[in-house]
Amino acid sequence: MGRVWKFGDNVNTDLITPGRYNLTTNPTELAKYCFCEVRPEFPKEVHLGDFVVGGVHFGSGSSRETAPLAIKASGIKAIIASSFARIFYRNAVNIGLPILIADTSVINDGDQLDVDLRSGVISIPESGIKIDAQGLPEFLLAIMDEGGIVAYLNKYKKFPNP
Protein backbone atom coordinates (compact mmCIF):
# COMPACT_ATOMS: atom_id res chain seq x y z
CA MET A 1 0.00 0.00 0.00
CA GLY A 2 1.15 3.50 -0.76
CA ARG A 3 -0.19 7.00 -0.64
CA VAL A 4 -1.38 8.79 -3.77
CA TRP A 5 0.15 12.09 -4.85
CA LYS A 6 -2.45 13.28 -7.32
CA PHE A 7 -1.62 15.76 -10.06
CA GLY A 8 -3.74 17.17 -12.88
CA ASP A 9 -3.37 17.10 -16.67
CA ASN A 10 -0.25 18.12 -18.61
CA VAL A 11 2.25 17.88 -15.76
CA ASN A 12 5.34 18.92 -17.69
CA THR A 13 8.96 18.09 -16.94
CA ASP A 14 9.71 21.73 -16.03
CA LEU A 15 7.31 21.24 -13.12
CA ILE A 16 8.99 17.98 -12.08
CA THR A 17 12.61 19.13 -12.26
CA PRO A 18 12.71 22.91 -12.94
CA GLY A 19 15.55 24.20 -15.13
CA ARG A 20 17.18 26.15 -12.35
CA TYR A 21 17.69 23.02 -10.21
CA ASN A 22 18.47 20.80 -13.16
CA LEU A 23 22.21 21.33 -13.24
CA THR A 24 23.16 18.00 -11.69
CA THR A 25 22.88 14.32 -12.53
CA ASN A 26 22.77 13.22 -8.90
CA PRO A 27 19.36 11.56 -8.30
CA THR A 28 19.31 12.39 -4.57
CA GLU A 29 20.03 16.06 -5.31
CA LEU A 30 17.33 16.07 -8.00
CA ALA A 31 14.81 14.47 -5.63
CA LYS A 32 15.21 17.42 -3.24
CA TYR A 33 13.38 19.67 -5.70
CA CYS A 34 11.06 17.13 -7.29
CA PHE A 35 7.63 18.71 -7.97
CA CYS A 36 8.70 21.78 -5.93
CA GLU A 37 6.82 24.07 -8.32
CA VAL A 38 3.41 22.45 -7.80
CA ARG A 39 3.71 20.53 -4.51
CA PRO A 40 6.49 22.13 -2.45
CA GLU A 41 5.86 19.64 0.39
CA PHE A 42 6.45 16.64 -1.89
CA PRO A 43 10.22 16.18 -1.37
CA LYS A 44 9.84 16.22 2.43
CA GLU A 45 6.68 14.20 2.84
CA VAL A 46 6.94 11.53 0.16
CA HIS A 47 7.49 7.96 1.39
CA LEU A 48 9.04 4.91 -0.17
CA GLY A 49 6.28 3.02 -1.99
CA ASP A 50 4.02 6.04 -2.65
CA PHE A 51 2.38 6.58 -6.05
CA VAL A 52 2.30 9.54 -8.40
CA VAL A 53 -1.04 9.78 -10.22
CA GLY A 54 -1.66 12.16 -13.11
CA GLY A 55 -4.19 12.95 -15.81
CA VAL A 56 -3.53 13.26 -19.54
CA HIS A 57 -0.10 13.85 -21.11
CA PHE A 58 1.96 13.28 -17.97
CA GLY A 59 5.61 14.30 -18.43
CA SER A 60 5.10 16.59 -21.40
CA GLY A 61 7.67 19.10 -22.58
CA SER A 62 11.41 18.73 -22.35
CA SER A 63 13.28 15.46 -22.87
CA ARG A 64 15.10 15.77 -19.54
CA GLU A 65 15.54 12.34 -18.03
CA THR A 66 16.18 14.03 -14.71
CA ALA A 67 12.38 14.15 -14.33
CA PRO A 68 11.70 10.39 -14.04
CA LEU A 69 15.04 10.01 -12.26
CA ALA A 70 13.97 12.47 -9.55
CA ILE A 71 10.63 10.71 -9.16
CA LYS A 72 12.32 7.33 -8.90
CA ALA A 73 14.85 8.65 -6.38
CA SER A 74 11.94 10.00 -4.31
CA GLY A 75 10.91 6.40 -3.67
CA ILE A 76 7.82 6.39 -5.90
CA LYS A 77 6.73 2.83 -6.73
CA ALA A 78 4.88 3.64 -9.95
CA ILE A 79 3.35 6.49 -11.92
CA ILE A 80 -0.23 6.03 -13.07
CA ALA A 81 -1.71 8.44 -15.62
CA SER A 82 -4.40 8.41 -18.27
CA SER A 83 -1.73 9.14 -20.91
CA PHE A 84 1.98 9.93 -21.00
CA ALA A 85 4.15 12.11 -23.18
CA ARG A 86 6.15 9.69 -25.29
CA ILE A 87 9.66 10.84 -24.35
CA PHE A 88 8.81 10.62 -20.66
CA TYR A 89 7.28 7.19 -21.22
CA ARG A 90 10.45 5.89 -22.86
CA ASN A 91 12.65 7.49 -20.24
CA ALA A 92 10.70 5.88 -17.40
CA VAL A 93 10.88 2.43 -19.01
CA ASN A 94 14.58 2.90 -19.75
CA ILE A 95 15.40 3.60 -16.10
CA GLY A 96 13.05 0.91 -14.79
CA LEU A 97 10.45 3.21 -13.23
CA PRO A 98 7.07 1.46 -13.56
CA ILE A 99 4.34 3.37 -15.38
CA LEU A 100 0.73 2.40 -15.92
CA ILE A 101 -1.91 3.86 -18.20
CA ALA A 102 -5.34 3.84 -16.57
CA ASP A 103 -8.43 5.94 -16.00
CA THR A 104 -7.28 7.95 -13.00
CA SER A 105 -10.40 10.07 -12.55
CA VAL A 106 -11.60 8.10 -9.52
CA ILE A 107 -8.25 8.20 -7.71
CA ASN A 108 -7.90 11.06 -5.24
CA ASP A 109 -4.99 12.72 -3.55
CA GLY A 110 -4.15 10.96 -0.30
CA ASP A 111 -5.89 7.66 -1.23
CA GLN A 112 -4.09 4.51 -0.20
CA LEU A 113 -3.49 2.29 -3.24
CA ASP A 114 -2.57 -1.27 -3.88
CA VAL A 115 -1.07 -1.84 -7.29
CA ASP A 116 -0.16 -5.17 -8.83
CA LEU A 117 2.42 -4.15 -11.39
CA ARG A 118 2.27 -7.50 -13.12
CA SER A 119 -1.48 -7.74 -13.68
CA GLY A 120 -2.00 -3.97 -13.78
CA VAL A 121 -4.81 -4.13 -11.24
CA ILE A 122 -5.06 -0.97 -9.17
CA SER A 123 -7.23 -1.14 -6.07
CA ILE A 124 -8.36 1.39 -3.52
CA PRO A 125 -9.15 -0.87 -0.53
CA GLU A 126 -11.01 1.85 1.41
CA SER A 127 -13.69 2.29 -1.26
CA GLY A 128 -13.37 -1.14 -2.85
CA ILE A 129 -12.74 0.42 -6.28
CA LYS A 130 -10.67 -1.61 -8.74
CA ILE A 131 -9.22 -0.23 -11.96
CA ASP A 132 -7.62 -2.21 -14.76
CA ALA A 133 -4.54 -0.54 -16.12
CA GLN A 134 -3.33 -1.02 -19.65
CA GLY A 135 -0.22 -3.16 -19.35
CA LEU A 136 3.05 -2.44 -21.10
CA PRO A 137 3.56 -4.21 -24.43
CA GLU A 138 5.76 -7.34 -24.20
CA PHE A 139 8.72 -5.53 -25.69
CA LEU A 140 8.76 -2.91 -22.94
CA LEU A 141 7.85 -5.37 -20.22
CA ALA A 142 11.00 -7.28 -21.05
CA ILE A 143 13.06 -4.11 -20.52
CA MET A 144 11.20 -3.16 -17.35
CA ASP A 145 11.68 -6.65 -15.89
CA GLU A 146 15.44 -6.24 -16.08
CA GLY A 147 15.25 -2.87 -14.35
CA GLY A 148 15.83 -0.80 -17.48
CA ILE A 149 17.40 -0.82 -20.92
CA VAL A 150 21.02 -0.63 -19.78
CA ALA A 151 20.63 -3.70 -17.58
CA TYR A 152 18.76 -5.47 -20.38
CA LEU A 153 21.46 -4.81 -22.96
CA ASN A 154 24.19 -5.75 -20.53
CA LYS A 155 22.50 -9.09 -19.98
CA TYR A 156 21.27 -10.00 -23.48
CA LYS A 157 23.60 -7.91 -25.70
CA LYS A 158 20.67 -7.09 -27.97
CA PHE A 159 17.24 -5.42 -27.94
CA PRO A 160 14.19 -7.50 -27.09
CA ASN A 161 12.35 -8.82 -30.16
CA PRO A 162 9.89 -6.20 -31.39
Binding site: S63, I87, L153
Partner: protein, 418 residues
Protein backbone atom coordinates in the same frame (compact mmCIF):
# COMPACT_ATOMS: atom_id res chain seq x y z
CA UNK B 1 0.83 -2.82 -55.66
CA UNK B 2 2.58 -1.63 -52.48
CA UNK B 3 0.19 0.22 -50.21
CA UNK B 4 0.34 4.00 -50.14
CA UNK B 5 2.41 5.39 -47.33
CA UNK B 6 2.56 8.45 -45.13
CA UNK B 7 5.83 10.35 -45.12
CA UNK B 8 6.58 8.75 -41.76
CA UNK B 9 6.01 5.22 -43.11
CA UNK B 10 8.14 6.01 -46.15
CA UNK B 11 11.08 7.14 -44.07
CA UNK B 12 10.89 4.16 -41.73
CA UNK B 13 10.42 1.68 -44.60
CA UNK B 14 13.56 3.01 -46.19
CA UNK B 15 15.51 2.91 -42.95
CA UNK B 16 14.41 -0.60 -42.05
CA UNK B 17 14.70 -1.97 -45.57
CA UNK B 18 11.19 -3.39 -45.79
CA UNK B 19 7.62 -2.10 -45.95
CA UNK B 20 6.55 -0.98 -42.50
CA UNK B 21 3.25 0.40 -41.28
CA UNK B 22 2.15 2.72 -38.51
CA UNK B 23 1.91 0.84 -35.23
CA UNK B 24 4.82 -1.52 -35.82
CA UNK B 25 7.77 -1.50 -33.47
CA UNK B 26 11.02 -1.55 -35.43
CA UNK B 27 14.73 -1.49 -34.74
CA UNK B 28 16.36 1.10 -36.98
CA UNK B 29 19.83 2.44 -37.53
CA UNK B 30 19.95 6.18 -36.90
CA UNK B 31 21.87 8.67 -39.02
CA UNK B 32 22.84 11.07 -36.26
CA UNK B 33 22.64 11.11 -32.48
CA UNK B 34 22.57 14.63 -31.08
CA UNK B 35 22.84 15.70 -27.47
CA UNK B 36 23.62 19.02 -25.83
CA UNK B 37 25.27 20.42 -22.76
CA UNK B 38 22.38 19.77 -20.38
CA UNK B 39 21.42 16.27 -21.56
CA UNK B 40 24.85 14.82 -22.39
CA UNK B 41 26.08 14.40 -18.79
CA UNK B 42 23.34 11.87 -17.94
CA UNK B 43 23.89 10.08 -21.24
CA UNK B 44 27.57 9.73 -20.33
CA UNK B 45 26.57 8.14 -17.02
CA UNK B 46 24.25 5.65 -18.73
CA UNK B 47 26.91 4.94 -21.35
CA UNK B 48 29.50 4.16 -18.67
CA UNK B 49 27.10 1.64 -17.15
CA UNK B 50 26.99 -0.31 -20.40
CA UNK B 51 29.51 -3.10 -20.33
CA UNK B 52 32.06 -3.07 -23.11
CA UNK B 53 30.13 -0.42 -25.05
CA UNK B 54 31.95 1.21 -27.96
CA UNK B 55 30.82 4.60 -29.10
CA UNK B 56 29.56 4.92 -32.70
CA UNK B 57 31.52 8.13 -32.92
CA UNK B 58 30.78 8.74 -36.61
CA UNK B 59 27.13 9.33 -35.63
CA UNK B 60 27.64 11.41 -32.49
CA UNK B 61 27.09 15.18 -32.43
CA UNK B 62 27.50 17.16 -29.23
CA UNK B 63 26.35 20.77 -29.09
CA UNK B 64 27.00 23.24 -26.28
CA UNK B 65 24.11 25.68 -26.55
CA UNK B 66 21.88 25.65 -23.49
CA UNK B 67 24.06 27.40 -20.94
CA UNK B 68 27.06 28.83 -22.78
CA UNK B 69 29.42 30.16 -21.62
CA UNK B 70 28.85 28.48 -18.25
CA UNK B 71 27.11 30.91 -15.87
CA UNK B 72 27.96 29.14 -12.59
CA UNK B 73 30.19 26.41 -11.13
CA UNK B 74 27.54 23.68 -11.48
CA UNK B 75 27.10 24.28 -15.18
CA UNK B 76 30.86 24.58 -15.59
CA UNK B 77 31.33 21.21 -13.91
CA UNK B 78 28.81 19.55 -16.23
CA UNK B 79 30.58 21.09 -19.20
CA UNK B 80 33.91 19.82 -17.86
CA UNK B 81 32.52 16.31 -17.69
CA UNK B 82 31.44 16.51 -21.34
CA UNK B 83 34.79 17.93 -22.50
CA UNK B 84 36.55 15.03 -20.84
CA UNK B 85 34.23 12.51 -22.48
CA UNK B 86 34.78 14.13 -25.88
CA UNK B 87 38.51 13.84 -25.43
CA UNK B 88 38.39 10.29 -24.13
CA UNK B 89 36.11 9.13 -26.97
CA UNK B 90 37.73 11.30 -29.66
CA UNK B 91 34.42 12.79 -30.79
CA UNK B 92 34.77 15.04 -33.83
CA UNK B 93 31.33 16.56 -34.28
CA UNK B 94 31.44 19.05 -31.40
CA UNK B 95 30.02 22.55 -31.56
CA UNK B 96 30.69 24.90 -28.68
CA UNK B 97 28.56 28.06 -28.54
CA UNK B 98 28.02 28.20 -32.28
CA UNK B 99 24.27 28.30 -31.93
CA UNK B 100 21.20 26.30 -30.94
CA UNK B 101 21.45 22.63 -31.87
CA UNK B 102 18.27 22.66 -33.97
CA UNK B 103 19.52 25.64 -35.95
CA UNK B 104 23.08 24.51 -36.58
CA UNK B 105 22.45 20.88 -37.50
CA UNK B 106 20.61 21.89 -40.70
CA UNK B 107 22.99 24.82 -41.30
CA UNK B 108 26.03 22.57 -41.10
CA UNK B 109 24.54 20.01 -43.47
CA UNK B 110 23.89 17.17 -41.04
CA UNK B 111 20.19 17.05 -41.88
CA UNK B 112 18.89 15.53 -45.12
CA UNK B 113 15.45 14.41 -46.31
CA UNK B 114 14.62 10.82 -45.40
CA UNK B 115 17.19 10.59 -42.65
CA UNK B 116 16.48 9.45 -39.10
CA UNK B 117 17.93 11.65 -36.39
CA UNK B 118 17.47 11.37 -32.66
CA UNK B 119 18.34 14.07 -30.21
CA UNK B 120 18.37 14.41 -26.46
CA UNK B 121 16.10 17.39 -26.76
CA UNK B 122 12.36 17.53 -27.29
CA UNK B 123 12.57 20.03 -30.15
CA UNK B 124 14.56 17.61 -32.31
CA UNK B 125 11.29 17.50 -34.27
CA UNK B 126 12.49 20.75 -35.92
CA UNK B 127 14.40 18.67 -38.50
CA UNK B 128 11.03 17.57 -39.85
CA UNK B 129 11.10 20.86 -41.78
CA UNK B 130 13.45 19.01 -44.16
CA UNK B 131 11.44 15.75 -44.28
CA UNK B 132 13.96 14.27 -41.87
CA UNK B 133 12.40 12.13 -39.14
CA UNK B 134 13.85 13.94 -36.15
CA UNK B 135 12.60 12.98 -32.73
CA UNK B 136 13.51 13.69 -29.14
CA UNK B 137 14.61 11.07 -26.66
CA UNK B 138 16.06 10.99 -23.16
CA UNK B 139 19.64 10.55 -22.07
CA UNK B 140 19.61 6.77 -21.68
CA UNK B 141 18.09 6.29 -25.14
CA UNK B 142 20.91 8.44 -26.48
CA UNK B 143 23.50 6.34 -24.64
CA UNK B 144 21.95 3.18 -26.09
CA UNK B 145 22.18 4.64 -29.58
CA UNK B 146 25.78 5.75 -28.97
CA UNK B 147 26.60 2.15 -28.11
CA UNK B 148 24.56 0.39 -30.80
CA UNK B 149 24.06 2.92 -33.61
CA UNK B 150 20.39 1.97 -33.46
CA UNK B 151 17.31 2.24 -31.29
CA UNK B 152 13.75 1.01 -31.27
CA UNK B 153 10.86 3.01 -32.66
CA UNK B 154 7.16 2.56 -32.78
CA UNK B 155 6.28 3.81 -36.26
CA UNK B 156 3.72 6.48 -35.39
CA UNK B 157 0.41 7.03 -37.09
CA UNK B 158 0.15 10.45 -38.71
CA UNK B 159 -2.11 13.47 -38.39
CA UNK B 160 -2.52 15.35 -41.64
CA UNK B 161 -2.52 19.12 -41.20
CA UNK B 162 -3.63 20.81 -44.38
CA UNK B 163 -2.92 24.51 -44.67
CA UNK B 164 -4.49 26.66 -47.32
CA UNK B 165 -4.49 30.36 -48.15
CA UNK B 166 -1.84 33.05 -47.72
CA UNK B 167 -0.65 34.63 -44.52
CA UNK B 168 -2.15 38.13 -44.14
CA UNK B 169 0.15 41.05 -43.31
CA UNK B 170 1.48 40.88 -39.73
CA UNK B 171 0.66 37.16 -39.55
CA UNK B 172 3.53 34.66 -39.57
CA UNK B 173 4.30 30.95 -39.47
CA UNK B 174 4.34 31.19 -35.67
CA UNK B 175 0.71 32.35 -35.65
CA UNK B 176 -0.20 29.57 -38.04
CA UNK B 177 1.26 26.84 -35.87
CA UNK B 178 -0.21 28.37 -32.70
CA UNK B 179 -3.55 28.10 -34.46
CA UNK B 180 -2.87 24.39 -35.06
CA UNK B 181 -2.04 23.97 -31.36
CA UNK B 182 -5.26 25.69 -30.37
CA UNK B 183 -7.21 23.33 -32.64
CA UNK B 184 -5.85 20.02 -31.46
CA UNK B 185 -4.52 20.95 -28.03
CA UNK B 186 -1.21 20.29 -26.32
CA UNK B 187 -2.00 16.58 -26.05
CA UNK B 188 -3.60 16.41 -29.49
CA UNK B 189 -0.95 14.33 -31.23
CA UNK B 190 0.53 12.09 -28.52
CA UNK B 191 2.38 9.10 -30.04
CA UNK B 192 1.65 10.52 -33.52
CA UNK B 193 3.55 12.36 -36.24
CA UNK B 194 2.17 15.59 -37.66
CA UNK B 195 2.48 15.88 -41.42
CA UNK B 196 2.01 19.36 -42.86
CA UNK B 197 0.66 19.73 -46.34
CA UNK B 198 -1.57 21.95 -48.47
CA UNK B 199 -1.11 24.80 -50.93
CA UNK B 200 0.51 27.12 -48.37
CA UNK B 201 3.42 24.87 -47.45
CA UNK B 202 5.46 25.15 -50.70
CA UNK B 203 5.22 28.93 -50.37
CA UNK B 204 6.74 28.93 -46.89
CA UNK B 205 10.44 29.65 -46.49
CA UNK B 206 12.80 27.16 -44.85
CA UNK B 207 12.81 29.33 -41.75
CA UNK B 208 9.01 29.32 -41.55
CA UNK B 209 8.89 25.55 -42.04
CA UNK B 210 11.31 25.16 -39.15
CA UNK B 211 9.08 27.29 -36.91
CA UNK B 212 6.14 25.03 -37.72
CA UNK B 213 7.99 21.72 -37.29
CA UNK B 214 9.50 23.00 -34.04
CA UNK B 215 6.10 23.13 -32.35
CA UNK B 216 5.09 19.54 -33.14
CA UNK B 217 6.21 18.45 -29.68
CA UNK B 218 3.98 21.12 -28.13
CA UNK B 219 1.08 19.00 -29.36
CA UNK B 220 2.70 15.84 -28.03
CA UNK B 221 3.87 14.91 -31.55
CA UNK B 222 6.77 12.56 -32.15
CA UNK B 223 7.73 14.43 -35.32
CA UNK B 224 6.46 17.32 -37.46
CA UNK B 225 7.14 16.64 -41.10
CA UNK B 226 7.12 18.93 -44.11
CA UNK B 227 7.63 17.41 -47.60
CA UNK B 228 11.06 18.01 -49.15
CA UNK B 229 10.69 20.05 -52.33
CA UNK B 230 13.07 22.03 -54.53
CA UNK B 231 13.32 24.76 -51.89
CA UNK B 232 14.52 22.20 -49.37
CA UNK B 233 17.15 20.88 -51.75
CA UNK B 234 18.27 24.38 -52.71
CA UNK B 235 18.86 25.18 -49.05
CA UNK B 236 20.60 21.94 -48.19
CA UNK B 237 22.57 21.24 -51.38
CA UNK B 238 25.52 23.56 -50.63
CA UNK B 239 25.64 22.32 -47.03
CA UNK B 240 24.73 18.67 -47.04
CA UNK B 241 27.17 15.85 -46.51
CA UNK B 242 25.02 13.28 -48.33
CA UNK B 243 23.14 13.08 -51.65
CA UNK B 244 19.49 14.07 -51.43
CA UNK B 245 16.10 13.64 -53.03
CA UNK B 246 12.67 15.18 -52.88
CA UNK B 247 10.37 13.31 -50.56
CA UNK B 248 6.67 13.45 -49.85
CA UNK B 249 3.80 11.24 -48.72
CA UNK B 250 1.94 9.12 -51.25
CA UNK B 251 -1.43 10.46 -52.31
CA UNK B 252 -4.29 8.93 -50.30
CA UNK B 253 -2.11 7.56 -47.52
CA UNK B 254 -3.75 6.50 -44.29
CA UNK B 255 -4.01 9.20 -41.64
CA UNK B 256 -5.33 8.86 -38.12
CA UNK B 257 -6.62 12.39 -37.99
CA UNK B 258 -7.08 15.35 -40.30
CA UNK B 259 -7.34 19.06 -39.69
CA UNK B 260 -7.41 21.99 -42.07
CA UNK B 261 -6.43 25.56 -41.39
CA UNK B 262 -7.24 28.56 -43.56
CA UNK B 263 -4.36 31.02 -43.27
CA UNK B 264 -6.33 33.82 -44.93
CA UNK B 265 -8.53 34.36 -41.93
CA UNK B 266 -5.88 34.59 -39.27
CA UNK B 267 -4.81 37.30 -36.86
CA UNK B 268 -1.59 37.50 -34.84
CA UNK B 269 -1.81 35.14 -31.85
CA UNK B 270 -0.57 35.18 -28.28
CA UNK B 271 -0.41 32.13 -26.00
CA UNK B 272 -1.11 33.22 -22.42
CA UNK B 273 0.17 31.63 -19.17
CA UNK B 274 0.66 28.76 -18.40
CA UNK B 275 -0.08 26.58 -21.41
CA UNK B 276 0.36 26.81 -25.14
CA UNK B 277 -3.24 25.85 -25.82
CA UNK B 278 -4.42 29.07 -24.15
CA UNK B 279 -4.35 31.05 -27.35
CA UNK B 280 -5.85 34.49 -27.90
CA UNK B 281 -5.85 36.95 -30.76
CA UNK B 282 -3.43 39.75 -29.97
CA UNK B 283 -6.33 42.21 -29.85
CA UNK B 284 -7.78 40.35 -26.85
CA UNK B 285 -4.64 40.72 -24.72
CA UNK B 286 -3.30 44.04 -25.99
CA UNK B 287 -2.25 46.43 -23.23
CA UNK B 288 -0.97 43.86 -20.74
CA UNK B 289 2.18 45.34 -19.18
CA UNK B 290 5.50 43.56 -19.65
CA UNK B 291 8.82 43.53 -17.79
CA UNK B 292 10.82 41.69 -20.44
CA UNK B 293 10.66 40.85 -24.12
CA UNK B 294 12.75 37.96 -25.42
CA UNK B 295 13.38 37.37 -29.12
CA UNK B 296 15.27 34.25 -30.11
CA UNK B 297 15.19 30.42 -29.67
CA UNK B 298 15.00 27.48 -32.05
CA UNK B 299 11.44 28.62 -32.84
CA UNK B 300 12.08 32.21 -33.89
CA UNK B 301 15.71 33.27 -33.70
CA UNK B 302 16.54 33.09 -37.40
CA UNK B 303 17.52 35.81 -39.87
CA UNK B 304 13.98 36.30 -41.18
CA UNK B 305 12.75 36.73 -37.63
CA UNK B 306 15.44 39.29 -36.87
CA UNK B 307 14.60 41.09 -40.09
CA UNK B 308 11.00 41.50 -38.98
CA UNK B 309 12.20 42.87 -35.64
CA UNK B 310 14.65 45.20 -37.36
CA UNK B 311 11.89 46.63 -39.50
CA UNK B 312 9.77 47.42 -36.46
CA UNK B 313 12.58 48.82 -34.30
CA UNK B 314 14.52 50.75 -36.93
CA UNK B 315 15.15 54.36 -35.83
CA UNK B 316 13.05 53.89 -32.72
CA UNK B 317 13.64 53.27 -29.03
CA UNK B 318 12.26 50.38 -27.04
CA UNK B 319 10.20 51.31 -23.98
CA UNK B 320 12.17 52.21 -20.84
CA UNK B 321 9.87 49.91 -18.89
CA UNK B 322 11.03 46.68 -20.52
CA UNK B 323 14.26 44.78 -20.89
CA UNK B 324 14.52 43.57 -24.45
CA UNK B 325 16.83 40.60 -25.05
CA UNK B 326 17.68 39.37 -28.52
CA UNK B 327 19.54 36.10 -29.04
CA UNK B 328 20.42 35.08 -32.61
CA UNK B 329 19.89 31.34 -33.13
CA UNK B 330 23.38 30.72 -34.52
CA UNK B 331 26.65 32.34 -35.51
CA UNK B 332 25.59 32.14 -39.15
CA UNK B 333 22.45 34.10 -38.31
CA UNK B 334 24.41 36.48 -36.09
CA UNK B 335 27.04 37.30 -38.73
CA UNK B 336 24.43 37.87 -41.41
CA UNK B 337 22.41 40.06 -39.03
CA UNK B 338 25.52 42.14 -38.43
CA UNK B 339 26.06 42.48 -42.18
CA UNK B 340 22.47 43.53 -42.74
CA UNK B 341 22.67 46.16 -40.01
CA UNK B 342 20.05 44.46 -37.82
CA UNK B 343 22.34 44.16 -34.82
CA UNK B 344 23.18 47.85 -35.00
CA UNK B 345 19.47 48.64 -35.02
CA UNK B 346 18.90 46.44 -31.96
CA UNK B 347 21.73 47.94 -29.95
CA UNK B 348 20.84 51.52 -30.87
CA UNK B 349 17.19 50.98 -30.02
CA UNK B 350 18.14 49.81 -26.53
CA UNK B 351 18.07 46.00 -26.75
CA UNK B 352 20.55 43.58 -25.19
CA UNK B 353 22.04 41.28 -27.83
CA UNK B 354 23.46 38.05 -26.43
CA UNK B 355 25.71 35.39 -27.92
CA UNK B 356 23.92 32.70 -29.98
CA UNK B 357 22.40 29.84 -27.98
CA UNK B 358 19.26 29.10 -26.01
CA UNK B 359 19.62 32.33 -24.03
CA UNK B 360 16.98 32.85 -21.34
CA UNK B 361 14.65 30.20 -22.83
CA UNK B 362 15.23 27.73 -19.99
CA UNK B 363 15.56 30.18 -17.12
CA UNK B 364 19.17 29.58 -16.22
CA UNK B 365 20.99 32.71 -17.35
CA UNK B 366 20.90 35.85 -19.49
CA UNK B 367 17.48 37.10 -18.42
CA UNK B 368 15.93 35.08 -15.61
CA UNK B 369 12.52 36.34 -14.44
CA UNK B 370 11.80 37.51 -10.88
CA UNK B 371 8.67 36.79 -8.82
CA UNK B 372 5.68 38.49 -10.37
CA UNK B 373 7.42 39.46 -13.61
CA UNK B 374 5.88 39.08 -17.02
CA UNK B 375 7.73 38.29 -20.24
CA UNK B 376 6.63 38.10 -23.84
CA UNK B 377 8.81 35.65 -25.71
CA UNK B 378 9.12 34.20 -29.19
CA UNK B 379 9.87 30.74 -27.77
CA UNK B 380 7.80 27.59 -28.00
CA UNK B 381 6.54 26.97 -24.49
CA UNK B 382 5.18 29.05 -21.66
CA UNK B 383 5.34 26.52 -18.84
CA UNK B 384 5.11 27.87 -15.31
CA UNK B 385 8.59 28.72 -14.04
CA UNK B 386 10.28 27.99 -17.37
CA UNK B 387 12.18 31.30 -17.44
CA UNK B 388 12.89 31.65 -13.74
CA UNK B 389 10.55 32.26 -10.83
CA UNK B 390 7.51 29.97 -10.70
CA UNK B 391 5.57 33.14 -9.96
CA UNK B 392 6.45 34.77 -13.26
CA UNK B 393 4.40 34.67 -16.46
CA UNK B 394 5.33 33.93 -20.06
CA UNK B 395 3.36 35.04 -23.10
CA UNK B 396 4.36 33.45 -26.40
CA UNK B 397 4.01 35.19 -29.78
CA UNK B 398 5.69 35.95 -33.10
CA UNK B 399 8.76 38.19 -33.48
CA UNK B 400 6.49 40.90 -34.94
CA UNK B 401 4.31 41.00 -31.83
CA UNK B 402 7.44 40.86 -29.67
CA UNK B 403 9.03 43.82 -31.47
CA UNK B 404 5.84 45.89 -31.33
CA UNK B 405 5.51 45.11 -27.62
CA UNK B 406 9.15 46.10 -27.05
CA UNK B 407 8.34 49.60 -28.29
CA UNK B 408 5.41 50.11 -25.95
CA UNK B 409 6.26 47.93 -22.95
CA UNK B 410 2.82 46.35 -23.31
CA UNK B 411 1.44 43.56 -25.46
CA UNK B 412 0.89 45.32 -28.76
CA UNK B 413 -0.28 44.33 -32.22
CA UNK B 414 2.32 44.95 -34.94
CA UNK B 415 -0.39 46.82 -36.79
CA UNK B 416 -0.50 49.46 -34.04
CA UNK B 417 3.11 50.50 -34.52
CA UNK B 418 3.39 50.07 -38.30
Amino acid sequence: MPRTKTLTEKIFSKKVGREVQAGEVVLAEVDWIMSHDTTTPLAIESFHQMQGARLHRDKVIIVFDHVVPAPNPNAALLHRKIFEFIEEQKIDHVHYAQGICHQILPELGYITPGSLVIGADSHTCTYGAFACFGTGMGATDIAVAWATGTNWFRVPGSVLVEISGSLPKFVYAKDLVLEVVSRIGTAGAIYQALEFTGETIPKLSISERMTIANLAIEMGGKAGLVPADQKTLDYLQPRAQKPMERLQADPKANYENYISVDANKMEPKVAVPHGLEQIRNVSEVAGIKLDQVFIGTCTNGRLEDLQVVHEVLRQRQVSKNVRVIITPASNEVYLEAIKQGYIETFIKSGCVVTNPGCGPCIGRHQGVLADGERCLSTMNRNFKGRMGSPNSEIYVASPAVAAASALTGKITSPQEVA
